[in-house]
Amino acid sequence: MPKDHGIGASPKRREDVRFLSGTGNYTDDINLNGQAYVHFLRSDVAHGRIDRVDTAAAAAMPGVVRIFTGADFEGVGGLPCGWQVTDRHGQPMAEPGHPVLAQGKVRHVGDPIAAVVADTYEQARDAAEAIELDIEELPAVVDMKAALRDGAPKVHDDLAGNLCYDWGFVEENREAVDKAIKEAAHVTTLELVNQRMVANPMEPRVAVGDYNRATGDHTLYTTSQNPHVIRLLMGAFVLGIPEHKLRVVAPDVGGGFGTKIFHYAEEAFCTFAAKAVNRPVKWTSSRSEAFMSDAHGRDHVTKIELALDAENNFVALRTDTHANMGAYLSTFAPSVPTWLHGTLMAGNYKTPLIYVNVKAVFTNTVPVDAYRGAGRPEATFQLERVIDKAARELGVDPVALRRQNFITEFPYATPVAVEYDTGDYNATMDKLIEIGDFAGFAARRAASEAKGKLRGLGVNCYIEACGIAPSNLVGQLGARAGLYESATVRVNATGGLVVMTGSHSHGQGHETAFPQVIAEMIGIDESMVEIVHGDTANTPMGMGTYGSRSLAVGGSAMVRATEKIINKAKRIAAHLMEASESDIELKDGQFSVAGTDKSVAWGDVTLAAYVPHNYPLEDIEPGLEETAFYDPSNFTYPSGAYACEVEVDPETGRVTIERMTAADDFGNIVNPMIVSGQVHGGLAQGIGQALLEGCVYDENGQLLSASYMDYAMPRADDLPFYTVDHSCVTPCTHNPLGVKGCGEAGAIGSPPSVVNAVVDALQSAGRDVTHIDMPLSPARVWAALQG
């Protein structure tokens, strides 16, 4: 019987009541008295020198409150980068300035030049059209390799060139890897593109700045995954506002997918302008604006070489990647192609020697940063594609080749600096083969062929490092922030609890899943627990939600705080029952004295804590509220095996996904329904990348795919019914819940299996196709079929 409450149960998501009934409170729902609206005048050239910005005529337009330009932000800090990468030669990365409004130059289409604050949004827009602008267009660099050539136009004049860093990992392995590849029995080489993606959360970004002249308090309402991080970055580095005078609120947030982690110019602007004009200032992104101002994702170009010995054992792996940073360094951009990517190149395999080289490059494009999976999808895609290609070159079964090279003993220290604590890759592969009905594939292929279609089966494995922390490790790796998480558990007098978490929920279902954990620990009903998040004024300093870290890190902090609560409650219970503290047991919300029939209820104890008439005041403080900060000792390592079955129409090149199967090991599961939902969403985004999505610039740096007419988001009829399973469980050994995280797996694990399946389908028709770059549009597949 599945559980009906506590850990392992699947109660419906309580937050969905407001999300599905139109009663959510999103940032755009927040309207403050006297609020003005800002419209940003953005560059429509990719690279140019600003010769003149004349705002006089625009300032005289109806309703205009004030127009700001780069000049208003001289002396104000730029947007900081939160991660410093050190290059192969021990030098820090090139770190250009990132002004709130462009100063001197514009560097990508969408770079904000001026901001018009007006009584209405329409007036702000109209006035922006009246700003007279002279921009001398300069040659733009879009292609990463071209950007690194001598004489290429420089995105930042004050840097030596367009190289941000040349990173080698592990640099000491370089020669040994080269030698092993040279001497190997077989080397499979693959060049591939992990295309640029736009996250496209359903809710565009919004910011509302407010300033109280009487108290000097600033408030920013913003669409963020991590309000405390925004408060720290914006307060300390951009605007110089101490944290006690700055409150950041991220209320209901309609999807983030990474792109709402970062600190953006518009947030700093609204906070700054609210004080400057003494009115609340609101900005709501249009969808077109989102395409050219939300940080993009992926955009790697890679050559990967896998060396095998005569028995098909992996002996070495070498990669050469160009990673696009865009025109400026977004908040965590440098970490994505390096520490979130290079450390995962071992995958599920015991390859003894690995060398990863990454050149990060500035171009005249929108900045690129973390997008669901962040570095790990890029690593998985390369590795699982090259293994598939190797299997086909060697004429061996792709599953057998993977199994032969699986890591089977744990803990396992990879040659790329991480230690996997647990996993069972054969178990998830067995489960995949069973639930994906591999045995029936031959018959399904025959049926497809009978109607003139090609059918392919693609498989891949993945591993990811989640639950980002540990702080002391990421600090050594260049992070400029700690990556712990926090929770305050406040028990009310009548026994209900409020948990104030530093994690942030923007679709993950924390408000449902977190209470399940507490209810299980205390033995009370989940409805007695409320989750508060997203407001720096009433939550402890926390690092927010990304990298599938909320339950593993934030949940662990909550467990630690609840343990403190239970320990104190036991002392109170011991006093109430005149028993020894060590004899007190807590079960089903009742404190009892071991071996007796004496008990007091949870509510009796909580009432005693706040109405301490009969209370050991000399030994214990009244009240029942505890805070814990949790910093894990390692990442968590979810893993799994995915399979995709496609049908390809050889006449048109159109790919349809017939089956998509995911067997994941997420460690322990708190709410299986939410986990399945997370996997479903990830699969949709992974399939979107594999088949449909792609951000396109022309050679002049014009963004060509800036609407849903040109940027193809997956729709319901592009996606199959999924078969997902998370019954293979190897609990994480180092967090109290044994959980690993599930938020990104679907997006990491699905693109390679889709591409592997299409290659399999084409090869089944005798075509010598070894790779097609994503997205696998009908045109590309058709061209590959024509050979």
Partner: protein, 175 residues
């Protein structure tokens, strides 16, 4: 994007050349042109209203004539700013040569768009630019030589007035 076409105009080369430098002709021939001032020597200022896919905008810009080889070839360069709609730039190298029926006009066009026009209209911009160039040069042809015959005008309309057989330019220059 780039394109090149040529068309034969039933008028002597000198007359075609003269028309190319005439602001009145240009104004009539630039599709969507609301206003054009200036001269061939100093360049023209133009206001053009156009709709590209979902984007309708008023472009204010300049047209300059350069690389003039008298009677033979010239380059028309235009740049228009459409405010929130973005910008369009284009250059047409126009070459004239004598032919049996009059003059062969060859044009080599390179066009570029930016901002919202590129973001929303990129899929249709090639077709749009081709259509604009065709419209310009066919209006130009009509302006110089007049519609060939009643009933054969591009839009199929006929005009009962006999003088309409003559182009308005012909009427202008023959006065």
């Amino acid at each position: 994007m780039q394109m090149n076409e040529s068309r034969e105009i039933a008028a002597p080369r000198a007359q075609v050349w003269q028309a190319l430098l005439d602001p009145e002709v240009l104004k009539k021939c630039v599709p969507g042109c609301q206003e054009m001032t200036g001269s061939a020597a100093d360049g023209f200022e133009a206001t053009v209203v156009q709709k590209v896919g979902p984007v309708k905008a008023t472009f204010k810009g300049s047209v300059t004539i350069s690389d003039v080889v008298e009677g033979e070839s010239l380059t028309l360069s235009g740049e228009g700013k459409g405010g929130a709609a973005g910008f369009a730039k284009g250059e047409a190298r126009v070459t004239l040569a004598d032919s049996d029926a009059g003059t062969i006009l060859t044009y080599d066009v390179e066009a570029k768009v930016g901002g919202k026009l590129a973001q929303l209209g990129s899929r249709i911009i090639d077709g749009f630019a081709k259509k604009m160039a065709e419209q310009f040069f066919s209006s130009f042809q009509n302006a110089v030589e007049g519609p060939a015959e009643p009933g054969e005008t591009p839009d199929g309309e006929t005009d009962g007035e006999a003088p309409a057989k003559k182009g308005w330019l012909k009427r202008l220059v023959s006065n």
